[in-house]
Symmetry: D2
Subunit: 424 residues, 4 copies
């Protein structure tokens, strides 16, 4: 078993960094996590054991197939392949056997579709641990999140006899596009958690800083719209068929004009539109990728309902068939006071990190897990762990300061330590 | 009883010209017609006796009320007022008592909303017979149509003993906006007609010319659309209510883009749009006046169905209530060969008029009457009676050449004469 | 001279309540104010003496003409008519002759287009002081504002010898639609003001309450858009002309979709749209009344620029002529700390009113005056003076609690007293 | 040299059928034509010798590169590759040396992007001559056109001594998408032609029939529109950037609503739209493939101008950069009376083919060549050569009746014969 120190954390981080895998195709990553965690002594749940498959969002079979092929080529054993059963992510569980709180933690594992820089000034490339999966990169820091997760896991098993209660380390797939949290939340793995911790590296905070209670999370719903009409010759039979491209365009003009909301921020974006078959054919198909956001769940729900009603109205007006598919979902964030105070005590007062305030601005599906924990009576927190970065998140030269891995492990484990002692 | 000569026709024409009344408010006009025709010896049907009131189109109660007040002020007797029962137009019937064909004729009686020129170069003004109803004018020649109708009526009673069969002279209200024909057609007054004649003065033909079989009539449907939403304060509650103005505007953008038709001409126009209550209120109401046209009935029906579906889709998408109202209707024209030949024989060969060919371009609801006659086995014709005009139809300086009144009476009566003789 | 007591304040308020006049037509109101203030001993500036006419917004000549006729019929003297010179509002100035601060106050004088309730349960009607100008009503409390203004004016002249500095009481026309402040601000009447006070009755605060620093004012710009095309016959010549209605509708679809702003709230509303001439004519004209709002001036300016660019793009695309007219403007509010503290001291600590916090939500053009004062080095405040109301602002049964008139006068005069003493 | 008989025509047709090449990439086809024609004794012009390259439309460098690679792999000699110079098509010229008319003929050579049927019921597959270029197929009959062209060429050289004047056989690239005619017409190869013949197989006429003067050709212009904006994060910075997708969608809603034309048919189709980069990014790019059509050149020009103005208005309104590219062009057809009579004499009276009348409905860029010939004083004709087909044009099972190849050659050569004799 490895010792918990910065070198070990860097090793893990760089191992994952070399092997970035896009959401729902993290088979090599998951297999690595399962093996490592089992070796430490954890019970590890994978596939349908912790995911409610009915609620899986935004999973592309094409990407899954590529991931499966890659996993096979990388020598993942047939047993692990069978165990994963086409699904990614896992939950490591450890029970101390002593009455105490159940503590959950979330670490996300997927990468983004960015081509990693091959410039010698880019540290991961210069050091030889850059992406070996062209077109994909851990450019958001999830490699670091996993390293911290394994570090916490190692600390727990090492200190097991001094601890109480149970631990659940959730290695979540497909955080990008806010897709992976929902099937976890809809399962039952979260429902007995008393305290839940989650965090993100970087995000505007430098090494030595921490944003304990980030505000301004927008709830969001990611949707695909598809319209199906009928083709016809545009010269001879312009009145024939049903024009899916025209319907989609009118849909966009209406979507972009969904009213503002008096009670808070809203957003709407149709990010892509692909329609039509040929210049002289009445277009029979159109597909849109869109997202709505709202300052709270009620506002986001207003936006979602308006968007769906718009699609239905268009279908009626243009004689089209309308399909929509939920592709991702995140909610807003309400950190619990007790954990805000606990992280403040540990990170600021004990570790000396500099507290920051600010708006998160984007969306995160850890919020979906937090909401579930809170609905079942648990308390939860999401904080931003400062780490000086070399380029913006999702950029080809993104790299973070690895010292923050150690800070991350310390915050998590000190919190665990405190909560176990509190209980005793 | 008056003698039939040009002077008498001019007197009638000028009497009507001074008293223009807009569609469905022609109470003074109708009362004058009823009295004159009864004096000649006709049985005259008015109101519900010839109109199927369920099918009345585009009748504005406000204009009716103004018309009723005007009629009262002009001394129309209470008996006639009661007989008309709020409805306009009439049918004069005369039965010779001798077996023979039933011949029907249509003369339209309404004016347009144009302010008549008060320039001395404008003959009706200079001669003192211009409109005494400001804002309204017989600027389409229907005053002449009525004069011809009365001339034909007088000829028939004068020659009654030499004639056979029955005569029905239909004085149709509300031709403008193609509104008045439908309730006549849906009644039963047309159903025994064997030969039906109708005509229009001017329309691009000069005095001495005739267009016996005008082509290019477009079927048309006139519709009002109304959207009802809910108001809300645009600053405080922009997400509240339901925006009827926005819905109406998107409706227009979709209506104007109803596809072309591969089998013939189409038209769509949203002529007016009125929406909203105030600058800072989410608009709760919107109303549109629109029309579609098509080269034949099937194409016009395609346009109408597309327009209605568009309104329904908008209502669904924007959460509005959608109402539509049929405001007018005309169909395309198919003149019967026998009557084309008959009018050609009389007008061209006997009277020496110069035959013209051409496209009508617009729409006329005599076509609705013609279609009904033909569906019941009768034959029908609509022709253009040349008359040199001083300005375009519907213009403030419109005036036609009164000599054409006499040509008109002759064509109608010579046709009657021929058909009666043919039967004997 | 009247004595300052609640009875006198009620008399003034009810006198104005009977005589509501819409913005820019308040000639009877203005004449009454001028006469009353002159009688008290004030120098009174009217018309171009305090208004920069180039910056007058949203003034309808038709309403002005009606107002002038009403003023003549109510016996306003030709001298006053000439002095007002077609403009409304006035500024009363009084100089104590002793060195001291210049204190400005704003009282708005226009009514809204609401038909006042004639229900006996409506106190102004039951008491016989309801609107004598049908269709118009002081349903926003500006009658009360004027009564407070005259009350303050009376107090000042009564206590003149104990005061220092100068006083400017601004009776502003056309606050509704945020139209009247700009031409005052662009003149020079505000530029020497050291302390500026303004307030509104009601607005969600009950009698006995005060909201000293209302937040959430939205900057706003009110615009009229007009499109001019060319008519054509919709059946015969659909490609002719230029369709202003279609352009306007596409403009609306684009306006409603001006993007959200990442830095704060935005609003857009097209409140009314009027387009077209007749069902079968390609529409040649269209006019829109719209407004944009933004959480700050930069955001509001973004919205305004986007709206104008949209209009220009439509004009280019549809071959139309585009005109826009600025109809109103308000900015956001930044109350000065010193005056917040002063009003808190007087209203809460001395008078015992209950302080409230909250969002204003709407827009107010007192903010335009305040911005000008602050830009010239003065300090300013706008507060909400609690007054229990019987129905919402702008509703037919609106009525406020007249006791608040006295509270209003006391807050204003106590602040004046303090500032004068502070200076001595 | 081959003998001219049906077997030879079939051989040629099947050779081309196996080797379908999409417009502007017909390098193997062109090389085959050049070699065959040179072997017969023709002077053959290729590349810039007959194409005005400034006027080349709709040429995809990607498809050209694929075509070049294919030609190299098929053993086309470097000399021919160099001669073609990246361009396709050729003109075979033969001068009898005897004074006489110059006769031109057009044969188009490109295929369509259709996957040929591999069903045994599909004759070309069963017979082993189906497409060897997957995804592409001669499914419009241009393989037959080339066979006829070579047949005519062979007949001319065989009968050279009995003929007068000059012959130009134009093998036109890229007829699909009406792209290849313009650069030929803009060159000078057509300008001395006295008589010009062109035809299409099938098109609704069966074997044994001929449509000598097809009507209803629509002028058409094919355009690509591209909008360029700027990206921004849709959650954090929705007001940033410039939304090309939204602009493109509004463009479509306006394009589809370009008014009908009173003087004839119009068409508009946006066949494809591709926009945006990712769900949560304000889209920075959008591209549209569209086409307009009109019953005559003036109407088509109206449509084109309206479309371009629409794009410009959108660019202005949305702050985008707008590019458009002409991708194809065809005009309407006016066959010359003399050649109508000549083809009627030969095909109907002498060969016994059954004459048909009808509407072509679509568009053809032979019309562009014909217009050029007529502008320079020549006479021209385009006729439909009946051939029973197994499935519609552009369908995977399309196949025509090869007997029509012989009919085609006979009509062309008999016309030539007649014109030469007429001159002598």
């Amino acid at each position: 078993m490895n010792e918990l120190n910065l070198e070990q954390l860097k090793l893990w981080r760089r191992q994952f960094h070399k092997m970035p895998e896009i959401g729902w195709s993290e088979f090599v990553t998951t297999a690595t996590l399962i093996s490592t965690l089992r070796e430490m002594g954890y019970q590890v749940l994978s596939g349908k054991k912790f995911l409610k498959t009915d609620n899986i969002l935004g999973r592309s079979q094409k990407e899954v197939d590529i991931g499966l092929a890659r996993a096979a080529s990388k020598g993942i054993t047939p047993e692990l392949m069978e165990e994963m059963d086409g699904l990614t992510g896992c939950v490591a569980v450890l029970d101390t056997g002593i009455a105490g709180p159940t503590v959950g933690m979330r670490f996300d594992i997927d990468c983004v579709a960015v081509n990693e820089s091959q410039d010698l000034s880019h540290y991961p490339f210069a050091q030889g641990f850059s992406s070996q999966n062209p077109g994909y990169m851990h450019a958001c820091g999830h490699d670091g999140h996993m390293a911290i997760g394994l570090g916490v896991a190692l600390w727990i098993v090492t200190h097991k006899t001094a601890l109480t209660g149970r631990f659940k380390l959730i290695f979540q797939p497909a955080e990008e596009g806010v897709r992976g949290a929902k099937p976890i939340a809809e399962g039952d793995v979260l429902d007995d958690i008393d305290y839940f911790f989650s965090a993100h590296l970087g995000m505007g905070c430098s090494s030595g800083e921490i944003m304990i209670n980030p505000l301004g999370f927008l709830c969001t719903t990611k949707l695909d719209f598809r319209f199906y009409g009928a083709p016809a010759h545009a010269g001879i039979n312009p009145h024939g068929g049903a024009n899916a491209l025209a319907g989609a365009c009118h849909c966009v003009t209406q979507l972009m004009a969904i009213p503002r909301h008096g009670e808070g921020m809203t957003r709407i974006n149709v990010g892509t539109l692909l329609a039509g078959e040929g210049r002289n054919v009445i277009p029979a198909t159109a597909s849109l990728q869109l997202e709505v956001r709202g300052g709270n769940q009620q506002i986001n729900s207003f936006m979602t309902q308006q968007a769906l009603r718009t699609g239905e109205g268009i279908a009626l007006g243009f004689g089209l068939r309308f399909e929509h598919e939920l592709m991702g979902e995140a909610v807003d964030l309400y950190n619990d006071e007790k954990l805000i105070n606990l992280v403040t005590q540990i990170a600021v007062k004990e570790m000396g990190l500099s507290p920051q305030e600010g708006l998160f601005g984007g969306s995160e599906d850890a919020t979906v897990l937090i909401k579930r924990v809170q609905e079942h009576g648990g308390q939860a927190i999401y904080f931003v762990l400062g780490s000086t970065i070399k380029a913006g998140h999702h950029e080809a030269c993104f790299d973070f300061d690895e010292i923050s891995l150690l800070y991350g492990v310390k915050i998590f484990t000190n919190c665990i330590d405190y909560l176990c002692q509190e209980h005793q």
